[in-house]
Amino acid sequence: MTVMRALVVAVALLAVALPAHAQISDGVIKIGVMNDQSGTYADLAGPGSVVAAKMAIEDFGAAKKNMKVEVLVADHQNKPDVGSSIARQWFDADHVDVIVDVPTSSVVLAVNQVAREKNKALIVSTGATSDLTGPQCSPNAIHWTYDTWSLANGTGSAVVKTGGDTWFFLTADYKFGHDLERDTEAVVVKNGGKVVGKVRHPFPTSDFSSFLLQAQASKAKVIGLANAGADTTNAIKQGAEFGIVKGGQQFAGLLVFLTDVHALGLEKAQGLLLTESFYWDLNDKTRAFSTRFAERHHQAKPTMAQAGVYSSVLHYLKAVEALKSDDGPKVIAKMKELPTDDPVFGKGMVRADGRKIHPMYLFEVKKPSESKGAWDYYKVRATIPAEQAFRPIDQGNCPLVKK
């Protein structure tokens, strides 16, 4: 009898340990949206990214195709240790197949390690560090929406070319700020500009007056904001108070989201140059998507981060469907193989180093008189074609790229 019982247990164990060929693990595709649900980056990604992920699942038609897809949500509080422990919990206990969104570069790199170790998939939309497709690139990860290199390339070179050739950086003191500063400095120097000073402020900071005073004293023509979210809006708002722009200096917001402009108001934000890969009012498809999004998310238009979550989840599901498996690195490989096509970024592709390629846009924030109402904030200054928008694949030092 005991022998019989042992045999049954052994068979059961084997059945669990040896899954049949190509299939969806435990019958459900689980997508984990990990981001900042309550802190400084909650508006630009946060709950809106969850809405975007759910829209992607619906638009993909998962229900009709008899694919069971679930969305899990977690708040990483912008802390790498919290992020990696959630990732472990999700991969080990909750059988999450892919983690998407992930703002905050320091958290991105931590979760990237975990995804690689557990052999699962990671698709980053909001996080910015260009190292994810550089030295830290991984067969388990794709970087979707933008990165520090593309921001620097867009805003940095545009500002230098219009005469802003001396720079002072206000840099958020963590991975993201450092990378953005590094990538922008390279662009500034390459275009003949000069960096005259920099200060690294704690993340997050609410009072920028000391730093602004230092920036003022530096006499730099351009104050480069290598930070994001509330840090950027506070710096710009307080900069107006200290007469930065009136004194002849200019702000370059290196990462500005639509929600930041909304929070600042056009009065304070007008004239700002910024680089993004998405704006709701680009064409009929983006407008239609954004209207549907706004109906489900407090009437707010999507940011590029949220649009990126939509687009990346859609493409992920297409790859899973084609592959009939949700095995991490295999799906990532399939995603690189299939061309991308969606309403938010149009047609594009994913490179071998994990970089998703699409055009970037240089926008200028409208004057209050030019705006027709809430969320009508940008005009397109330049379109940076897909092949020029991102770091050339051979310059990133990604080990996956054969030289």
């Binding site: 309550s38 802190g39 400084t40 980056y41 909650a42 508006d43 630009l44 946060g46 003191d173 200060v199 690294r200 402020h201 704690p202 997050p204 900071t205 609410s206 009072d207 007056s209 000391s210 730093f211 005073l213 230092q214 003022q216 004293a217 979210g229 509330a230 809006t233 506070n234 708002k237 307080q238 108070e241 200290f242 007469g243 004194g247 929600t259 930041d260 909304h262 929070a263 600042l264 108001g265 009065e267 304070k268 407090h298 707010a300």
Partner: protein, 294 residues
């Protein structure tokens, strides 16, 4: 002339900025001190009440068209009244218990209030403009001083010193202090002690509301603005000595200046320097710089 490679001219600017930020620390820690000194309640909801002050100003403007000046009066009253409701309905049940219960209750209130506002208004904040009379600024030679910042320092000094005077030098203040020492005896003299306590709490909370209105044009009106600040303010109170009114005023301004200089010489440490000082002070003088030894 330079000090450690920084021109002295620039240091004057930073000194002034430090005083301005210190003004906020002083006003907030003053409210905390009044509440702790007279009620023995560690008011963790102070940050949320500061945030409410800014939001009341925002609502007054966008719903009722009332600008900055009326808000300076309305917001402290509304926020103070909110505080008094909390005191009457909840806090007063806790006076007999350990400090910890008051702390937990107010902390819970803060989380609920902040959560509701964040859910409703998001985390990036709402814009609020300074009144036209206070925009612009003066060129002081060594720095550009925005008029509004100068105004904040003046208001803060007046409010802080006024509060100190009322509590330490007037008859009303002596009642208050007597009521904390021996409520039963003061009540026996015919003074309505529970009402006085409610009003004191309301006043301390109103100070937070006032600081919120003052902060609205500088920072965004943001549901998290208080949560970011409250920990620093508690450190200020601990350094100054819990319950010491002059202590919190002086420490508030002093730490603002120290933090300002840190932002010049080693900006990376500017949000930890206050806690380092707190640790040192606690080691050397456990009751704070100006605190009475328990």
């Amino acid at each position: 002339m330079t000090i450690f490679g920084v021109p002295t001219q620039a240091l004057f600017g930073q000194l002034l900025i430090g005083l301005i930020n210190g003004a906020f620390y002083a006003m907030l820690s003053l409210g905390l001190s009044v509440i702790f000194g007279l009620l023995n309640i560690i008011n963790f909801a102070h940050g949320a009440q500061y945030m409410l002050g800014a939001f009341v100003a925002y609502f007054a403007l966008s719903w009722a068209g009332l600008g900055y000046w009326p808000s300076l009066l309305i917001a402290p009253i509304v926020v103070g009244a909110f505080g008094m409701v909390i005191e009457r309905t909840m806090l007063k049940r806790l006076y007999q218990l350990d400090h910890l219960y008051g702390l937990l209750l107010t902390f819970g209130v803060a989380l609920v209030v902040q959560g509701v506002f964040r859910n409703e208004f998001g985390s990036s904040g709402l814009p609020y403009a300074a009144p036209p009379q206070l925009t612009g600024g003066y060129n002081l030679g060594f720095m550009f001083l925005p008029t509004y910042r100068g105004w904040v320092v003046v208001v803060s000094l007046v409010v802080c010193l006024g509060t100190w005077y009322v509590i330490e030098r007037t008859k009303l203040g002596s009642y208050l202090r007597a009521a904390t020492e021996n409520p039963a005896l003061v009540q026996a003299f015919g003074i309505n002690v529970p009402r006085m306590i409610t009003l004191t709490y309301g006043f301390g909370v109103a100070l937070a509301g006032l600081a919120g209105v003052l902060a609205a044009p500088i920072y965004q009106v943001n549901p998290l603005m208080g949560a970011d600040l409250i920990i620093v303010v508690f450190a200020v109170v601990v350094i100054g000595g819990l319950g010491s009114i002059m202590g919190s005023i002086i420490t508030g301004f002093g730490l603002g200046v120290i933090e300002g200089f840190t932002k010049v010489f080693y900006p990376e440490a500017s949000n930890t320097v206050i806690f380092v000082i707190m640790a040192v002070v606690l080691l050397v003088r456990p009751s704070g710089l100006f605190g009475r030894t328990a």
